[in-house]
Symmetry: C2
Subunit: 224 residues, 2 copies
């Protein structure tokens, strides 16, 4: 029987590559996206396209109103998305506890489906300012998850896979390209328009564009 895996799918190129890695590893992939009060909806549309193109077993979008708490430029319209280039330190686009919340909900779905694998496209290289993208964080989450759940208690270990964690953006793009990911379906921009066209100046756009250039892979991104 094919094993099931939960894959967190944002609609960006990292999670699209992560899904391709999980699929190539032979898992039936159950993709989970979040409608968490993002400024734009283009990334949810991208996630649906990516899940379909990669023949995921299922794609669910869970509504979760993180904007209620505020505190991030990605959910709080009172905070501007920075466009002056990547700065040192934790950026204002950091969403409080986002990966913890998303992994927790993935864990709930994993329990219900009896899946023992969770894939997440976090990356510690290009986004080192986000504390919840580091390997020690992923390891601590996995340990907690195994103490939290029925499966864990019964000795069926749950594994949190973060296959991109130590890859550069260029390496991620090369890996995804090798696995046949259609990056034209993905949206990385923090302030894409409704048609999914990127601003070209936010941190995420800058890292993406530099990544394609460094990887020597044609950049299919559509800009505004």
């Amino acid at each position: 029987m094919t094993q099931k895996a939960i894959v967190l799918l944002s609609g960006g190129l990292d999670s699209a590559t992560t899904l391709a890695i999980a699929t190539a590893a032979g898992f039936d992939c159950y993709c989970l996206s979040f409608d968490y009060g993002q400024r734009h909806r283009a990334e949810l549309a991208a996630a649906a396209r990516v899940a379909e193109a990669q023949r995921a077993a299922e794609h669910r979008v869970l509504k979760l109103d993180l904007a209620q708490f505020g505190g991030s430029a990605l959910t709080d319209t009172a905070i501007d998305v920075p466009v002056a280039g990547v700065q040192p330190g934790i950026p204002v686009t950091y969403v409080p506890a986002r990966n913890t919340i998303m992994l927790s909900l993935a864990l709930a779905w994993a329990e219900v489906l009896a899946a023992r694998e969770i894939f997440v496209g976090v990356n510690a290289v290009d986004y080192s300012g986000y504390p919840d993208c580091r390997p020690e964080y992923i390891a601590a989450f996995e340990k907690m998850a195994n103490l939290a759940t029925k499966a864990g208690v019964e000795g069926q270990k749950l594994t949190v896979h973060a296959p991109l964690i130590d890859l550069s953006k260029a390496s991620i793009i090369r890996r995804g390209n090798f696995l046949g990911v259609d990056f034209g379906l993905t949206v990385s921009c923090y302030q894409a328009d409704d048609a999914g066209r990127a601003c070209g100046v936010c941190d995420s756009c800058r890292l993406r564009r530099e990544g394609f250039a460094a990887a020597g892979v044609p950049d299919p991104t559509r800009y505004q």
Copy 2:
């Protein structure tokens, strides 16, 4: 300046007592409840009454559709709430990853408010079948949380307090009673009616009734 604490408030007697303990310890309490597709709404109404009676700084209800995942008698109407008495093992009323999800959302709010304390009324004695009510789970969550967040990275330790974890139901009731908790405002029943009246036969009702009897405190519960 008074320190802030996030208190998870379900509307049951355990969380009402936990709120009283956090308040007595001098914290300004920010209470968080979840509308997670519970079978009944009486417990959310109870949470609001408890927060008001104990003069919480704020009470928020976050909508979260865990019923979408199914897998628990508390959110999945296809599974019956057991009424034959407490059985060994993990009960079907277990909601997958519930405490992990709720603590993760508490963590997000804590970050935004710069609160460094989270209080949760989990208890390992009367509900030992739930893996996410054990001390080792709480410790693992706290460790993960400190790796996940900006405050943790900056050395401002976040503490997860579970002051009821090793108390019997009777001890919790005595503690709450001593702190002036009005248990008549709380609802513990898994299938209370809209007026907040308890069924008297589910596990939660049984444990609550036995607890009042053992504590020698008058039971204010209204039954159907």
